[in-house]
Symmetry: C2
Subunit: 484 residues, 2 copies
């Protein structure tokens, strides 16, 4: 009997036979996540339905030293759910129940397979919603959001997943239950709740998530501002924040993105603009009106040649439609594109965009930018033709762009995670000391290294092979710094 | 030569002789922190001035297996800086420089011994400030704030220390430098930045802190609302938040506290009130006016018999003066008092205050309440007479109050930390699984257990002796829960 057959037999004692996928046509849909460039047909897929089954699966894998990958909805963009050659793929798709909703305490306790948008759906009758809104929110699961510490358009005001989750029920690799966080403000003990967020499935398996719900905003105003230079738009974004405003969202697109969108669906964006900013304010009406007026003043002061305020919900949807369709719009005009995800300090957006343009010229590639300007999370889309053998060049450009982000004090990923895609860039972001601590923390949670091995944190040897690690997050000297 | 003399000789090779305190009169000031009930004269105190000295001290302690306690300003309230019988006390008082202030990026990079308020002082000429404001902010150091993840009156709107720090430079116990966090939004790798916050000096030694600065608010409005029952005040606080407002601060005091304050300094609080709420709103003027009107409506709707808006800065200061003097005011009317620090879900304040009153009656002790109502952080002050042998009774009442907090889903400490004081309560808050993970994480950072041993996390044996650990953060059934 093969090792795989033996595992099937052991799993049959834990879950019904139909919950164990083993035939090629059953396994195929699980060969990749949202990053389709990396694929591997899984060894075996198992779909448990109850926590008690999951405990037994974990104990089995622990005893047998079989590694496993836990998968949510498979919408991740860095290959974090890529299957293993010889290990289980555990799908939490059947953990799809909202267990409890507390309108007074404004929390919901849900299973990890619940879709992000389904939480807001259940909360809506109580005038509440769940704030973080990744673009994939119609499909992505809350468990995956925790694993990647997902953001979204509205995270400028409402924070990332970690800021909207108050407690997690988790299983360790040994199958032990732990509860992290509480309904209180700041818990005692080490902040393992924050630690598990964004840990990309390497530390523990989350089985319940208690999220914070917010009241639906009384009023929303959406502004569209057009600029004739990218620098002016970036300065205007910085000025809005400097004026003390915290928009619910503040997005930016450059001309290549604007033109692609207009060609695709005629959102009414001005084609002559070098950059567009979409700024949304929400809250009580009097406050929103005051803030919208203040934001408009900043846009005009920084040279916007057109500022429109959406007059009704239909126009607001049109403003957003263009932004939200930017990726498919780019997809129409290029055989392939590669979406980057770096973050930088907000006030350095203009400078970094100029740097990206220079790098794109150097490689002879086109880049469109569509991004969360308010929090400095860039998404350069590199257009290329894989069939023409351009992929390797694209990857080099991508790495240089991420190194530029690190140089100005930023990071190699904002919200998409490291997964398998950015392992090498991790060597640029971190030095030996940090990597050693990461491995020690992993060891604390999963001494046998069975949870999602080979993802998120490169080995020291891999970084050494790449030619050594970078200096600690080097900062370029800022002329504007006040030194003491 | 004693072990201590040998250590002095080794330290003399690292720091100037005057930086090694060894005589009883030199050591005495370091025998306790803000929790004066626990005292121990240190073995030796060393005051390094440069990071390179600190690295050598850590390596020395690591090699010689000498434990150490790192101390900030000594204002902590849970005994976290209590010295060891045979170990170094390392004071970071000389790490008192603001290294860099970036008005455009709105960050300041500072050493750990810098006083909290000094950061805002340096930022003020640029129209900026550092938001977290623990009551001790005139004296406490930013390094201590990181160790305890300090809050303050304004953390309702602006968050805890962890939400206002973007990067830390740390030394591991082996003297290696690591940099956690970045100027970007969400970093890759495990969130060790959050993990170090609130770790009470057990994981690493922080040598530089990069904090976020905020623009000084354009406008501030402060309301004082008086209620004839505690329940009405608690409901009003919940209603303000439910209305979608996020006040900069929302504090509450009950009658014993009000009367003590009025007897002390005549703040103008209505003595007939059962509870007072002080609510402060800040931001751009139009927004603040709108919010203040909305808050006033909620107070009136929930039965406030008097709502005053401070007409000028002098009156605003008077409103706050009473709140800020509440602890010394209580100190005047009782030989001793014990300040608790539990957090609970905001909407359960009324119920928990009633429970505290019942418990106080049971023990025949008086309790005054002065607390951060907006974020559910309670500070019951138990009044007693140590000379009359009441301490043991007070400690029992204190434990019962904290257990009540845990029962409703809260925690045993909001902002004061665990230190030596709340080790036993940690056994009530956490089960074996969580404690085991805490110890594993500690092991990952400090395998020899030399950093601040005996604090913050109890051993499993200690909890077992206490009669077993509690069930996971038991929740009482809420009648208002929507179950699916």
């Amino acid at each position: 009997m093969t090792r795989r057959d033996a595992m099937i037999r052991r799993l049959q004692a834990i879950v019904p036979d139909e919950a164990i996928l083993r035939r090629p046509e059953e396994l195929k849909p699980y060969e990749c996540d949202g990053l389709t460039a990396y694929r591997r047909v899984p060894w075996l897929v198992v779909l448990p339905e109850h926590e008690s089954q999951l405990v037994r699966i974990l104990k089995l894998c622990h005893d047998e030293k079989v590694p496993l990958v836990v998968r949510g909805a498979g919408t991740g963009l860095s290959g974090g759910a890529l299957p293993l050659e010889e290990g289980l793929l555990v799908s939490l798709a059947r953990f799809d129940r909202i267990l409890e909703l507390d309108p007074l305490g404004r929390t919901a306790r849900v299973q990890p397979g619940v879709r992000n948008l389904a939480i807001s759906g259940a909360a809506r009758p109580h005038g509440l919603y769940y704030a973080p809104d990744p673009s994939s929110q119609i499909a992505c699961s809350i468990g995956g959001n925790v694993a990647e510490n997902a953001g979204g358009i509205h995270c400028l005001k409402y924070g990332l997943t970690v800021h909207n989750v108050i407690a997690l029920r988790c299983l360790t690799m040994e199958g032990e239950t732990v509860i992290l966080g509480s309904a209180g403000l700041d818990g005692p003990g080490y902040d393992l709740l924050a630690l598990v967020h964004g840990s990309e499935g390497l530390l523990a398996v989350v089985t319940e998530i208690t999220v914070r719900l917010l009241p639906l905003p009384g009023c929303t105003r959406t502004l569209l501002a057009a600029f004739s230079t990218v620098a002016a738009a970036a300065d205007a974004v910085a000025a809005v924040i400097e004026a003390g405003l915290i928009p619910a969202a503040m997005e930016m697109m450059d001309r290549p993105a604007i033109v692609a969108v207009e060609d695709y669906l005629q959102a009414g964006y001005p084609r002559e603009a070098a950059a567009l900013v979409i700024c949304e304010l929400d809250g009580p009406e009097a406050q929103v009106e005051a803030e919208a007026a203040a934001a408009r003043r900043q846009f005009e002061r920084h040279g916007a040649f057109r500022v429109q305020v959406a007059q009704d919900e239909a126009e607001r949807q049109r403003f957003w439609q263009g932004r939200k369709s930017a990726f498919p719009a780019i997809g129409r005009i290029t055989p392939d594109y590669y979406c980057m995800d770096g973050t930088i300090p907000r006030h350095r957006v203009a400078e970094v965009l100029a740097g990206i343009a220079r790098l794109a010229d150097k490689y002879g590639l086109r880049v469109a930018n569509v991004f969360h300007a308010g929090d400095g999370n860039l998404h350069p889309l590199i257009m290329y033709d894989a069939a023409a053998g351009e992929l390797e060049k694209v990857e080099r450009l991508g790495r240089e762009i991420l190194e530029l982000c690190v140089q100005v004090g930023g990071t190699i990923t904002g919200e998409h995670g490291v997964g398998v895609e950015k392992l090498d860039s991790m060597c640029r972001q971190f030095g030996e000391g940090e990597l050693r601590l990461f491995h020690a923390v992993k060891q604390a949670f999963d001494p046998r290294g069975l949870l999602n091995p080979g993802k998120a944190v490169p080995t020291l040897a891999r970084c050494a092979e790449l030619g050594g690690m970078h200096v600690h997050q080097g900062r370029l000297p800022h002329p504007e710094l006040v030194r003491f």
